[in-house]
């Protein structure tokens, strides 16, 4: 076997890993901010905000991410005001920014549903106890509702974040040379798609497994109350199996 070819392919794809991670990190982070806004709108009790959030989730969950990406990258530049805007144009003509934006908008829809579910799943008794002790709304949210909801949201949210790692590959469709784009190019040049894509596949898999591990560890840190009590815990293996 031609192990040099494998090694050089893996090395070339790995050189694009920072770019993949950059898209992923910014997409997820901005998405988290938007998702929090949407969750707040859904929970606030304002009818208008609630309808907006519902419509948003419906649109972004119901259509493929690729369509959303093309609509942002190719579609929005149809507007003259976009092309002439000193703020919008530098963002919307750049495929990198467009990918990050599309990913953020998309993951926000899914994440906000996860957060909403988690908020609703916080046991009523826990919130009632906080009320009964005179905690003001914000204190109650910070000390009781939020920590419990975060813990409940974590498993589903980590799955969503792994979906986002996969989604970064779409950046290659708008000329970004992240890992998928790089693999595509090597495959075109060498006409050895099986070998090249296998190399890229292994890297993606390892990346996702590490992210899953990381989240499992965070989950472990956040849930001392779900572990066995102190004197028994020595016999328990710390990190649970995932993925």
């Amino acid at each position: 076997m031609d192990s040099n070819f494998y090694l050089s392919t893996i090395w070339s794809v790995l050189k694009a890993l920072p770019l993949t991670l950059e898209i992923w990190l910014f997409g997820v982070a901005i998405g988290l901010v938007i998702a929090s806004g949407l969750t707040w709108m859904r929970a606030s009790g304002y009818k208008l905000g609630e309808y907006f959030a519902r419509a948003y989730v419906f649109v972004f969950r119901g259509s493929p991410l690729l369509v959303q990406l093309y609509l942002i990258y190719f579609g929005l530049s149809q507007f003259d005001f976009v092309r002439h805007s000193p703020i919008l144009w530098p963002i919307l003509r750049d495929p990198m920014y467009c990918t990050i934006l599309a990913m953020a908008l998309n993951t926000a829809a899914y994440s906000s549903e996860i957060f909403r579910g988690a908020l609703r799943a916080v046991p009523v008794g826990q919130i009632e106890a906080a009320k009964a002790f005179g905690m003001p709304t914000f204190t109650r949210f910070r000390l009781v509702t939020l920590p419990i909801a975060l813990r409940l949201a974590l498993p589903a949210y980590s799955t969503e974040i792994i979906l986002m790692t996969k989604a970064t590959a779409l950046a290659s469709m708008v000329t970004i040379m992240e890992m998928m784009g790089t693999a595509q190019k090597i495959q075109h040049d060498t006409f050895r798609p099986i070998e090249v894509l296998t190399c890229a596949g292994v890297i993606y898999l390892l990346l996702n497994l590490s992210i899953a591990r990381l989240f499992a560890f965070v989950e472990y840190l956040l849930s001392p109350h779900l572990r066995p009590p102190p004197e028994q815990s020595q016999q328990i293996k710390p990190v649970p199996e995932v993925l």
Partner: protein, 248 residues
Amino acid sequence: MEFLNNLLDQLSTAYELLAAGWGVQLLWGISWTLAVTVVSMLIGATLGSLVAAAKLSSSGGLRFIGESYTTVFRGEPELLIIYLFYYGGTQVLTGVARSTGSIGPTDIVNMPSFLGGVLAVGIISGAYQAEVFRGSFLAIHRGELEAARAYGMSALMRFRLVIMPQVLRLAVPGLGNVWQLTIKDSALISVTGVAELMLSANKAARSTHHSLLFYALAGILYLVMTSISTPIFEKAERYTSRSFVRPK
């Protein structure tokens, strides 16, 4: 208002463009998208039930194969799987044809794009369906299986009379999600040249320079497809769980 003018411009040209043949193109695109999705779902259902059975089996080897399948095909970018089946298929077919001497040393046998796309999306769909089936099986009340055994039913009878109907009932909502996922994944096989909705919209956008119009239309059509399937699956859920609804 430049924005409003632009929008009105777009709207007035929209009708002309659609009437000029792009509308029919999009309709063909929809039917190909549905065809791809249905075939992929069927491939996925077959693979998914086998993989679910493997994951639930008592044999460690089978469990490992099942786990690997779901981990790999849920963990890889869909695009990568599609490229692997399309270009990889071409690589294999060409290799075989060259070695048997049926084509010249510089000729290429292309993977049929529909086949390549449907296999890739079907295999991904299978990974998600396997999880749905496995979850449904685990949700069956253990007592019912014990009862079936206690009444002397054979393994096949237990499967046909007790397990199968229940798994189907419990799996319907999950399968609804996978169906929507598969519709959305089908948009990616436009890269192989299957003339489904995404590719039709792409072609129209490129040749008319009206990207906004055609991508927005595609988005809306996908929305329609994913949202009309929701009530259908809800109806299916009601039908399959009719014995669990209390009579009024």
